[in-house]
Symmetry: C2
């Protein structure tokens, strides 16, 4: 049973076929797990072995090609008929002789698709350089073409059903962030705080449980807050520590990320100032969000504020977000940065993350927002500020 109804999947496949026709493609080999899920509902932690969906202009349903061990998972999660499921034998797995893409080539030949133009996701996750080579060898008569973000661009505008689950994820991340602010205290081990945050992410709400987010909690503290992508360690928080918390709620693989920073005890004057500048910058950026605004204009509004106060940030301010699998919840299409001229449209969803990683300290405030006809809808209500966490009495007395 796929998550959405069959109409939704068929509309997605139609949209992909239209884009394929525009780009002159006869066949598309989809290897990005998010794109696989998007078209078929397929879900499972099986992307560590090669797997793909084959979309063809001449076949009524997409074909699922995966490991035999995962066939039953495909039956349970895909909307297509049994004869669209093409499992490969286990001796293809991590073999020095056989490669799953050899089998993929056979499937494509068996449907006589091997003479046409075939799109592949050249820069997507889980499509290795060798996978491509083996496809080239197995299908010498095909013409290959890069179709890396073809489906991602279609995913950029969400359906109402997708917005619904992203809002469920927003409730989850709100709770998980509340949990972080409750458990982070001097004397607590970082791993123990991260454990409570992860628990909240997976418990979810009474309405809906949490799926695993595509990224684990990024929760560096103290000097490690100067780095963008560190997780937790064994150390105990100390009075005066800053902690960055970048997490997401996830429902049916759809994400709502959220980042905040907290300080244990009294923040330094420069951190307080930085947090006020960042909050003002985020608010100013959100104020320009509306249909027709350009992605770079959102970032420009942010830059105007921080430059006014003498700060710099060279990395992008955000990106489109939604359905995904590890290692990333971003969709790799639109970035909120100078030079990105994408016009915002209703039901695009972005993670705007104002992360300042300075020399030996850092701070993050983010918002996930949806573009709506009236402008912007921020999906969570967590206060836009540096959280100041009291030290426990026991440590003060």
């Amino acid at each position: 049973m796929a998550i959405f109804n069959r109409d939704e999947y068929e509309a997605r496949v139609r949209a992909v076929r239209n884009r394929m026709e525009q780009q002159g493609l006869d066949t598309l080999i989809v290897t990005d797990p998010a794109n696989i899920n998007y078209l078929t509902g397929y879900d499972g932690w099986s992307f560590y072995v090669p797997q793909a969906i084959i979309v063809s202009l001449v076949l009524t349903e997409p074909l699922w090609v995966g490991r035999e061990q995962d066939l039953f998972g495909a039956r349970l999660t895909c909307w297509m008929n049994e004869n669209a499921l093409k499992p490969y034998a286990d001796h293809y797995v991590q073999s020095l002789i056989r490669h799953p893409m050899d089998y993929m080539a056979q499937v494509i030949k068996s449907y006589s698709l091997h003479h046409g133009r075939i799109g592949v996701e050249m820069d997507g996750y889980y499509f290795s350089a060798l996978s491509y080579q083996r496809l080239l060898q197995g299908l010498p008569d095909a013409h290959f073409q890069d179709a890396t973000l073809l489906i991602n661009w279609i995913r950029l505008i969400k359906s109402e059903a997708e917005i619904h689950v992203i809002k469920q994820a927003a409730h989850i991340v709100t709770r998980a962030m509340d949990t972080a602010m409750e458990v982070i205290r001097a004397g607590v081990r970082e791993c123990d705080a991260a454990a409570e945050v992860l628990r909240a992410q997976i418990q979810g709400t009474e309405e809906v449980g949490g799926d695993y987010p595509a990224i684990v909690p990024l929760m560096p503290s103290a000097v490690r807050t100067g780095a963008a992508h560190l997780t937790w360690v064994n150390r105990r928080y100390e009075p005066g520590d800053t902690v960055n918390i970048e997490i997401a709620g996830c429902v049916q693989r759809y994400h709502c990320p959220l980042a905040r920073s907290a300080v244990i005890g009294v923040p330094s004057p420069h951190l307080t100032e930085l947090s006020q500048v960042v909050a003002e910058g985020v608010t100013n950026a959100l104020d320009v969000v509306k249909p027709g605004a350009l992605a770079e204009e959102v970032e420009g509004a942010w830059q105007k504020v921080i430059q006014h106060y003498g700060y710099q940030k060279s990395s992008r301010l955000g990106y489109a977000v939604g359905l995904n699998y590890p290692p990333d919840w971003g969709e790799h299409t639109v970035s909120l940065r100078k030079g990105d001229l994408t016009e915002l449209q209703p039901n695009m969803v972005f993670h705007l993350i104002a992360g300042m990683w300075l020399d030996g300290y850092g701070l993050e405030i983010s918002e996930t927002f949806r573009v709506i006809p009236e402008g912007v809808e921020v999906l969570t209500g967590t206060e836009r500020k540096l959280f100041v966490l009291e030290e426990p009495q026991a440590l003060c007395s």
Copy 2:
């Protein structure tokens, strides 16, 4: 500060250089995050953008090439000097014009390494088909050679320091499995049980906190146990459900996986029989483990038992395990299966997983073991059986 001492990293780099010389390589571009960590200590959830370590026969230290945003993380986690760290600007990230591998090519040229034989991990994770194309374009005078598992084969035999952290991970997974058996009850939501298991995995022990395992808990129940790689859903467990639990403890990115199945209430006769056969098969397989035994002999001893009872399993029985990042904790070298003639040696570590995924039901019993001079050391002490979980009194009255 890297995790292990500098001697350990230098020994690893020496071993890699020796292997490179044997294979005629001048330079090796390492893109697998586990291999990057193995050589340098680098740790961070940054593998969603291209990054690499360059090992050269003529450079004293490996070079780290990664995103500018992650430079500070590299400073904090790598053992090399500052001048070995080569960050690329943020405008290379998810750009339609620039690609991080263009920058990689520049770095290689700047060290005059572009005329030699360069090894790349053609079938590794996070080295896309496009990454390879851009390297080919950027380094037209180089001769590229596939070096996919070069480092993985060196990783196969663990140092005492590595064994130490894997044993710490064994303590963690034991606790997490205990937690699973405590929380799985009729009426409990799967997501709530998974949340408690994840919490236990990350809390770890008093001695050491848990790192995030490379795979989330695989915890299908009821009919979904027939599939190998499903996670949890929102449904509540029901009396009579079987639940598979495949999890790992993880310390400093080193894993100790463990799988067991449980039944809520009274197991069916065929499930009881299957569990006894599987337990006997696992024990028989472990009995043949010793230095000099072949990987396929371990699997053969398993097959002998299950075939005697009329069962079949076509997928492999296990694989080498250790240091890793999502999406896999397996090392992709030795598999316990027919045709794998690798001779076992002391301090190899394997996850032997007897997973039976039958039509609409399944069962798993696994052990992580270390090869020792005397034979085998099983790293966890969890009972090798189908766990029968009582239904709560409240539901029975």
